[in-house]
């Protein structure tokens, strides 16, 4: 039983500044979207919620690369999260949700899993 993915347009590429993130609101809660023009693919999306503080702040962290992986540093207590996998570099038992993301023309679409029950009903 596979959950259906709904590709919602959340914003346009002009809302993003290269090498940084913004937050969008989705059915699945707040999501951080990052635009990293030097990576392939250039867009990443992870949960906006910092698991260490519970605050919705990850989109406001500094991005970069550590040991070859794209990362964002939480602006509160500075832990790093791998943007591809969501795994925390300082403590690999902690991870944040990641979302598929694509650029459709000028629009950024997020792949948000539909609620299970809805998927069944459909």
């Amino acid at each position: 039983m596979k959950a259906r993915t709904c590709w919602n347009a959340v914003c346009t590429i002009d809302d993003l500044v290269p090498e940084s993130g913004i937050a969008v609101w989705t059915k699945d809660g707040p999501v951080a979207v990052f635009y990293m023009p030097h990576w392939l693919p250039a867009l990443f999306a992870i949960s906006h919620t910092d698991p260490f503080s519970g605050a919705n702040v990850l989109a406001r962290g500094i991005t970069g690369d550590l040991k070859g992986a794209p990362v964002v540093a939480s602006p509160l207590y500075k832990q790093h999260f791998n943007l591809k996998t969501g795994v925390c570099l300082e403590d690999d038992s902690v991870m944040v949700k990641t979302y598929p993301v694509l650029l459709d023309g000028n629009e950024i679409r997020l792949g948000i899993p539909e609620d299970q029950r809805e998927a069944v009903a459909a």
Binding site: D15, V17, A23, V24, S53, G61, I62, G64, G68, K78
Partner: protein, 835 residues
């Protein structure tokens, strides 16, 4: 068994060091200890006596505390001179009583020699040895214009510098044909003289004073044997020291022909119950006028009193490394080539003002002595060759030639034997340092604390650091200065690259000089460097991703993801109207309101979306950003000052506002704080700030590199009685020098502690322009000041920049569900347990 009595006469540097050693030894339990000191004050650091004129007090210079003495059970009699010793009955006499002793230690030091010249008893004829002497010089300097020091030796030149710092026109009169005749040769003395005269201190050599009479244009006239004369308002005699052996002499102890209490290798005099240490003692016909040999004697005697058969004083190295009136002077070992067969190698660059001479043994294998003037950078290496008898290379001249002419690099710490003495004050060898590291010391600070190395005269600081770094590296402890995995450079090096190559973006810098894409360490550091250099708006598109969130949103993020708002309130002065606006805005947005520790108001709990709206209102009411988020100037705290306060001597509020407006917005390696107090009562706590200003009758005293916070540090007095313009120019230079040379996130206090050469070096750079960069520093500062903008004003006026301030870009009405509130003491506060 009842305890025996040990009496120490003299509470100077060596006497105190002896007590420190002895009280921590087993034999201390067998003795009652009584100490007599003729001076009013507890033992103080005479080596740094001159700092008293730079604002240090007795307690800054003190070697111990009264609590320490009491804690050790020592009976301390200060301001009580011992006037007689009866060796038969083993009693001492003072004006206040008589005391029995079992063992007696003479640590009476020495006194300045005043040549027997007619008129030398004038009240304006002084000496330079004690704190009291310095008080007398200070009061004599009032109303004086000129001062002469008699004696061009080490202490004389230091005294001349002191006179200069009191604002007098200083001159030096020396009997010998050159300055520092003991340590230097003709060429070295001549170069030193030239350099000192360039600093405005006139030097007269080969002058013998025959009489001091009343002057015509000044208080005194010095008449010389060649019938010339010199007029001056005060005279400081510094014509050598004589061992203070009067008591010993009177009690019939053996005394040297030219003075000094004769001691053997056990620091014991001709009476087995009387010992002598320090400058009063004569060992093998030698007096040691330096503190390190005295300390060695103190340690020897402590061991002797603990029945250590091996303990012996076997002489001491008299090498000296000094900075006299800002000129480097070094003298090592047999500087005058008195060893038979000794040969010389000389290097003399009159243009650069560098003179170096090596004295080597007949077989060319060992270094016997050396003289350096103008540049002491070769001192440590040469000293190690001389002290440790390290075999010289085949081309020994390479040791003193400039590198461009084939000179050898300094002797690496690795080449030193384990027995090499690193710190002679505390007798610490390279082996001791290795032991300390093996026992767990993992940085310079802990090695210092463990071994006490470089806590005496400080001459070994640079060498110690090299040895420690080298040993740590050998043990695999990384002392890498790389900023992070993206840049193999320190912050200073990056600053240089940016400035010299005119680099304006992070991308260019990392492409040309780094690797990868950067991280949260290097990005903000580079952002700060770019801002210090070019001062673009921090939200310029290229810079946005570099900033810490606090800088990106120009507000400090709180634990629940909301932000605080801190408008600038320069100097803490605010009109009632502006206070009302703050209240109204806070009410409208339900912001928690608090007075900060920095004399301003912090409004907490604004959401990202609210930030620009709130700032729009504040800016309309005349507020500016307070940079509470930036690594930049925070506040300039002020006291109310002369305008209102009955004690104030200057307008401290006015100056604080002026400083705050001048430096606001400037990006630095870390935040920095300032304060201005209107008088010495110091209500603004300026001495705990990075830059502290205290009003004086004549202007302002400037203190630098203080810190509150995690590791408080008192600021150092940097310059005195500055005019408004001088004050600002001096701060401009220090700030810019800090901006250029400090490490990432290094406050000024830590920067200062790591600055090689410390406060003196900083003074040379800033006050004497020793690097010739002051004009550039000032220009750089004025560029930054000219390009200042209120970042918030620019941001709220620019729709593109405002776009960044959206909580959720796709749902403007959506509130962050995590931000839950409750109320406390009548205001809103976040619910602490987060979702």
């Amino acid at each position: 068994m009842s305890k025996k009595t040990l009496v120490v006469i003299g509470n100077g540097m060596v006497g105190h060091h002896f007590l420190e050693q002895f009280t921590s030894s087993p034999a201390a339990d067998d003795y009652e200890i009584i100490v007599f000191g003729e001076e009013k004050q507890l033992a103080y650091d005479r080596v740094h006596l001159s700092e008293y004129f730079d604002g240090s007090t007795h307690s800054d210079l003190a070697m111990g505390t009264l609590e320490w003495y009491t804690g050790q059970g020592i009976q301390l009699h200060l301001n009580e001179q011992v006037t007689g010793i009866d060796r038969e009955t083993r009693t001492l006499v003072t004006p206040r009583g008589s005391y029995h002793y079992d063992e007696l230690v003479l640590a009476t030091g020495s006194f300045p020699f005043v040549p027997p010249i007619k008129g030398n008893d004038s009240p304006h004829c002084l000496v330079y040895r004690t704190l009291d002497d310095l008080d007398s010089i200070r009061s004599s300097s009032e109303g004086a214009r000129t001062g002469v020091v008699v004696g061009g030796g080490l202490l004389g030149l230091e005294a001349a510098n002191a006179l200069k710092s009191l604002g007098l026109q200083a001159e030096v009169v020396e009997f010998a044909p050159r300055l520092m005749p003991v340590q230097l040769d003709t060429d070295g003395g001549a170069l030193l003289r030239r350099k000192i005269e360039e600093l405005g201190v006139k030097v007269h050599t080969e002058k013998a004073t025959t009489a001091i009479t009343e002057g015509e244009d000044a208080r005194l006239r010095m008449n010389f044997s060649d019938d010339s004369f010199l007029e001056t308002d005060l005279i400081v005699f510094s014509a050598g020291i004589r061992p203070q052996d009067a008591l010993a002499r009177a009690s019939g102890l053996e005394i040297g022909e030219r003075g000094g209490i004769v001691i053997d290798n056990h620091c014991t005099t001709s009476d087995p119950h009387i010992h002598a240490i320090g400058e009063c003692a004569l060992w093998e016909q030698k007096i040691f006028g330096l503190v390190a040999p005295g300390y060695t004697m103190a340690r020897t005697l402590s061991a002797v009193l603990n029945s250590d058969q091996e303990a012996a004083f076997t002489g001491a190295d008299m090498s000296t490394k000094l900075k006299l009136l800002g000129v480097d002077v070094g003298s090592i070992g047999d500087a005058h080539a008195q060893t038979p067969g000794a040969r010389n190698i000389r290097f003399n660059d009159e243009q650069a003002g560098h003179y170096r001479r090596m004295v080597i043994s007949e077989d060319g294998k060992t270094l016997l002595g050396a003289i350096l003037v103008g540049d002491n950078s070769h001192y440590d290496t040469l000293l190690q060759y001389a002290l440790n008898g390290i075999t010289l290379p085949a081309n020994p001249e390479a040791l003193i030639l400039p590198e461009s002419q084939g000179g050898a690099p300094a002797l690496g710490p690795d080449a030193l034997p384990e027995t090499a003495s690193i710190c002679s004050c505390h007798n610490v060898t390279k082996g001791d340092i290795c032991c300390a590291i093996d026992a767990g010391c993992s940085d310079l600070g802990s090695v210092k604390a463990e071994t006490r190395a470089s806590t005496g005269c400080g001459g070994c600081t640079a060498l110690l650091k090299n040895v420690v770094d080298c040993e740590l590296e050998k043990r695999g402890v990384e002392v890498s200065k790389d900023l992070c995995e993206h840049f193999p450079y320190s912050r200073q090096e990056l600053f240089h690259l940016v400035k010299v190559n005119g680099i304006r973006t992070f991308r260019t810098l990392i492409t040309q000089h780094g690797k990868g894409h950067g991280c949260d360490i290097c990005k903000p550091a580079v952002a700060s460097i770019l801002a210090s250099c070019w001062n673009d708006h921090i939200l310029a598109t290229d810079h946005v991703p570099l900033q810490d969130t606090n800088d990106t949103f120009m507000a400090n993020m709180q634990k629940n993801g909301t932000y605080s708002i801190v408008p600038r309130i320069p100097g803490g002065e605010i009109t009632p109207d502006k206070l009302i606006v703050l209240g109204e805005v806070a009410k409208e947005y339900d912001l928690y309101t608090k007075i900060t520790g920095g004399q301003r108001v912090d409004l907490f709990g604004a959401t990202l979306t609210e930030l620009p709206e709130i700032w729009e209102k504040l800016i309309a009411a005349g507020f500016e950003t307070g940079h509470a988020y930036g690594k930049s100037l925070r506040t300039v705290k002020s006291c109310v000052g002369k305008t209102w306060c009955r004690y104030g001597v200057q307008d401290s509020v006015g100056m604080a506002i002026r400083l705050e407006n001048r430096y606001k917005g400037l990006r630095a390696p870390h935040k920095f704080k300032m304060a201005v107090s209107g008088c010495t009562r110091e209500c603004a706590e300026a001495q705990s700030k990075d830059f502290g200003v205290i009003a004086t009758e004549n202007g302002w005293n400037l203190y630098v590199c203080g810190n509150g916070g995690m590791r408080p540090r008192h600021a150092d007095l940097f310059a005195t009685d500055l005019s408004d313009e001088e004050l600002i120019r001096t701060i401009d230079r220090v700030v810019m020098f800090y901006v250029r040379t400090a490490d990432r996130l290094q406050r000024t206090s830590v920067w200062m502690e790591n600055l090689e050469g410390g406060l003196d070096y900083l003074k040379q750079v800033v006050l004497e322009d020793s690097l010739g960069i002051c004009a550039e520093l000032e220009e750089h500062m004025s560029n930054v000041i000219d390009t200042y903008q209120c970042e918030w004003k620019t941001a709220v006026e620019d729709p593109e920049k405002r776009k960044r301030f959206r909580e959720f870009v796709n749902e403007p009405e959506q509130k962050d569900p995590v931000q839950q509130w409750t109320s406390e003491r009548g205001q809103r506060r976040p619910v602490l347990e987060s979702a």
